[in-house]
């Protein structure tokens, strides 16, 4: 590396971008889908009926249900429905083992009737959300890997900015239908256009997992992570059970009091510790959608037996507010429909930036081998991974949605099989990409993706009673929006497949000449 600073940075950008590009593409695409996590879940569980919100009533229903089903549980969780997520969900834990996760029993209730909802078992949008930071790996490896990918993304962004010093001038140059040049212009344009979003989303993902990946700071200052979290969130330390039974008061008035404390803010969740004990504590947790700056500690705590307010969390300090705004901006819980779509589009632009980068890397190096027609192993490997990570992922997502409608509702391990079909389909696209030559591979996979996505609204019409004709008339925008977005996505994939098929125009002369020669031979 004897060249200048910018060349060195361009080199770094190229290579870190390549090595993590495929993983980052998948993280960005599934993360983008997560902005519509609740809407996807709604489509995937059409049995769950949305009702007009009546949280006081829903809360009373949940309490009655839990009193009957789990009076001796160690802890109850009640998550209230909101405008995007129609279900009322309750969860309980029979025993709390410190240092252990899990042992939760979760039920979904009808928000007005209070009875259990019999919906098909499905992870819904939660699958994409979980995948984009856990990568289907056991805790904590997936989180580590995705955070490493985020660090690489951060490096790629900054080195990319250094490489393109004429960044704003370049932005106004787009040379369409010029092959490699157009891809690079496109890469720069989406990169610069949504640069603030890229920087925000990347840095915030590092901040979200900072206590996982930078534990040395905590250990040096506190000695252990538990001590740190106890200092950070005092509301999570609750009074222990005394073993004297006492009836739990109605949760409704506590809900009202918490909202009064927040000046009309919304409640997301209630956690009841030791219900039925004289030392029962009720933590009312504020909804993240209330403000951009997320506050994990925004809690009003009550004594469940006497109803008195035990603790109201204080205002965040500035560093906590900064880290909270990173979290809030990344999650976008506060975003209304318009802003949510903007998030979605920015996410797609990020995905496109990564995808075009991968295509450029290969395209540049393929040109050198166009004359001989023989591709070295490493370029072929990149080609296979490009195809499977982009068009293959689209097929996998399509397969996930199809599996949701085609697997019988009562099928055992149904939700698992939906996830399995996602990975099986993805695996098959790798095989297919290995067997087919470059362009054929692209065209066939994009076409199959197009078929799957265009088929989604039809499949929905055939298997449920909530097809576009019904959902549009009823104003069920989540359902209709899902169908229409899939349709749009399918049309886009069909266009891409068509473009790939007719790309001959943008090919180097040598290959075109060879194609002509072959044609001549046939004649």
């Amino acid at each position: 590396m004897k060249e200048g600073f910018r060349q060195a940075m361009a080199w770094l950008h190229t290579w870190v971008g390549l090595i993590f590009g495929w993983l980052l593409f998948a993280i960005f695409l599934t993360g983008t889908l997560s902005y519509f996590k609740d809407e996807i879940t709604h489509w995937m569980q059409p049995e769950v009926q949305a009702h007009p919100l009546d949280n006081a009533r829903s809360l009373a229903m949940a309490q009655t249900y839990l009193q009957q089903q789990a009076p001796n549980a160690a802890r109850w969780f009640i998550t209230l429905p909101d405008s995007r997520q129609p279900g009322l969900s309750v969860m309980w834990q029979d025993k709390v083992d410190p240092g252990k996760r899990g042992n939760f029993i979760r039920k979904r209730l009808d928000s007005l009737a209070g009875s259990e909802v019999q919906a098909r078992e499905s992870m819904g949008g939660e699958f994409f959300y979980r995948f984009h930071f856990q990568l289907q790996m056991p805790y904590p490896w997936g989180r580590w890997l995705s955070t490493m990918a985020a660090m690489v993304m951060f490096i790629a962004l900054i080195t990319g900015i250094i490489t393109h010093k004429k960044i704003f001038k370049d932005f106004f140059t787009f040379r369409p239908r010029k092959g490699q040049r157009s891809w690079l212009d496109g890469h720069n344009a989406v990169g610069v256009l949504v640069l603030p979003f890229h920087l925000m989303i990347t840095y915030s993902s590092l901040v979200i997992f900072m206590s996982l990946v930078m534990p040395a700071t905590i250990v040096a200052s506190y000695g252990s992570t538990d001590a740190f979290f106890d200092d950070l969130f005092p509301a999570t330390t609750n009074a222990p059970a005394l073993g004297q039974p006492a009836p739990l008061l109605a949760l409704g008035p506590m809900y009202d009091e918490a909202r009064r404390q927040w000046g009309g803010g919304h409640v997301e969740r209630l956690v009841v510790n030791n219900p039925g004990d004289v030392n029962a504590s009720v933590n009312v947790i504020r909804a993240g959608s209330d403000r951009v700056v997320h506050d994990f500690g925004s809690v009003v705590s009550f004594n469940g037996a006497s109803g008195e307010v035990v603790r109201v969390s204080t205002e965040q300090s500035l560093p906590m507010a900064i880290s909270g705004s990173f979290y809030g901006l990344h999650m976008g819980h506060f975003a209304g429909p318009v802003l949510r779509w903007l998030y979605f589009i920015c996410g797609l632009a990020g995905t496109a930036m990564i995808g075009t980068g991968l295509v450029i890397w290969l395209g540049k190096r393929q040109l050198k081998h166009a004359k001989t027609g023989v591709m070295p192993f490493e370029l072929r490997l990149v080609e296979v991974l490009n195809i499977a990570s982009m068009s293959g992922l689209m097929i996998a997502i399509g397969a996930f949605f199809w599996a949701n409608r085609l697997l019988p509702v009562g099928f055992v391990e149904r939700s698992n099989w939906e996830v399995q079909s996602f990975f099986i389909a993805w695996g098959l696209t790798v095989l297919h990409a290995m067997l087919r030559r470059g362009r054929q591979g692209w065209v066939e996979q994009l076409s199959l993706g197009a078929l799957l996505f265009i088929g989604v609204p039809l499949l929905n019409a055939l298997t449920t009673s909530q097809h576009l004709g019904v959902s549009l008339v009823q104003g069920d925008w989540a359902m209709a929006g899902f169908d229409l977005t899939c349709l749009g996505c399918g049309i886009f994939l069909a266009w891409a497949a068509w473009k790939m098929q007719h790309r001959a125009v943008a090919q180097p002369k040598a290959e075109r000449a060879r194609a002509m020669h072959l044609k001549g031979g046939v004649n």
Binding site: I155, T217, A220
Partner: protein, 100 residues
């Protein structure tokens, strides 16, 4: 970059060495900077730790850029390990002063 076949082994070793310095050395430097910030920032302990962790990734980034921008792989290691040693000593002293 030149085509791969023409690259000598020494060049490849140097790139590997830089990459190792960037990934592991950079992480070490970022952690140590973060530890020192958490000790020295004149705000409450929880706030100092949060601020230090939040900014650690910028130091990581700078370390990585240094590793690939400097003139040789030896310099890359030198530029990572010397500041790390200094920060580790200072962090040790700070820790010892708080808890003798």
């Amino acid at each position: 970059m030149k085509s791969k076949a023409s690259l000598p082994v020494s060049y490849r070793l140097a790139v590997t060495s830089r990459a190792l310095a960037a990934v592991f050395g950079g992480y070490l430097l970022a952690s140590l900077t973060s530890i020192c910030m958490a000790f020295w920032l004149p705000i409450s302990r929880a706030d100092a730790v949060v601020s230090a962790m939040m900014s650690s990734f910028v130091f990581y980034l700078l370390a990585v850029i240094w590793c690939f921008a400097c003139r040789s792989a030896w310099r890359a290691w030198f530029g990572i390990l010397v500041p790390s040693a200094v920060l580790a000593t200072l962090a040790g002293v700070s820790h010892w002063m708080v808890q003798p």
